[in-house]
Amino acid sequence: MIVNVVVTEHWHQITAHEVGFARDTHTASVLRTKYSPAWFSAPKYWKWSADFLSGRGFQWYVDKYAEVTTENPWNDVVLYFSRLSTAAGSPTPAGPLYYPGRYPILSSAAMAAAAEALAGWFCQTHYNWDLISRPPRVTPDLVFRDRTSKRWALVEVKSSGRLGDVRNKLTTDMIKLLKVLSSTKQLRPKPYCAGLVMVQVAGPNNASLTSLILEEV
């Protein structure tokens, strides 16, 4: 199965001053209004045909990256959109235990797991990052290490069933991640990367992926 992913990639360098300005709501407001627009100033757009049957298969990435225990979460996404179109009156065959007019609810756990798997797969193959850890119950979601530069990257993954402009959401969540980065400054001499990857599920074979990577300098 191929899922067509529209990728929007943002990569920007960030100073210690900006990282430190994530410290509280007042400085974060300055960070948002004065500095964050530059984070999105040079987007790159491209399309990724994610072949779920290639290599070790999509379930490998689900087992590797998803927090929730699940099997074939993308099947739940496909099922949702199939039943949604049937409920809306499209002439598709109904499955067992299903009748016309029953509006389906998208499984948020399945969507989140699928998004985490896609996001991790993306970081691994596009940025050439090794997954080192999935910290339990704390931020970030994922800890990667760049194979070439040996730089550590702390990544948060977000998911949504809606399409639309995600820059506001990415900025808000990036500021939270920068606060974590700022609090670790005493423990590390070398610069890290902070990453937000947002996956929006658009349909049974379509998704949008937006990445925002801020590289400390």
């Binding site: 070790r56 490998w60 050439n128 997954l131 999935r134 910290p135 704390v138 001499p189």
Partner: protein
Amino acid sequence: MERWQADPVDLLLMGEVDEAIETYLTLYAEAVEEGDHYIGQDLAIQLHHCLAAKYGDRAPEAVSEEVEGRLLQELERHRNLQYAQSMVRDDVAAAKEGLRRARERAEKSIERVEKEKETRWKS
């Protein structure tokens, strides 16, 4: 786009536990060498998972002593490394706490589903 090279989590998933352990020990020594005291806890957590997987019959929290021993042994091998034993103990203690909370969360996940059902009934 597909370029596949196993990272330490892949090694764990593949059952190549000894290789995963060696990778994490090396990463820990490199972090100490670079003066990075942030990442040690995450590496220690992964070592708990590796050793628990190696034995197959223990919870990750139960192998803390061995994790500490292996980390100290690894740092000793790198003769010129400056480190404090207390730093290793702190990383292992923090890792054990993280695992304890993860276990609690896993055990409460069923309770949480039941509560969500009750909330729907009330509304």
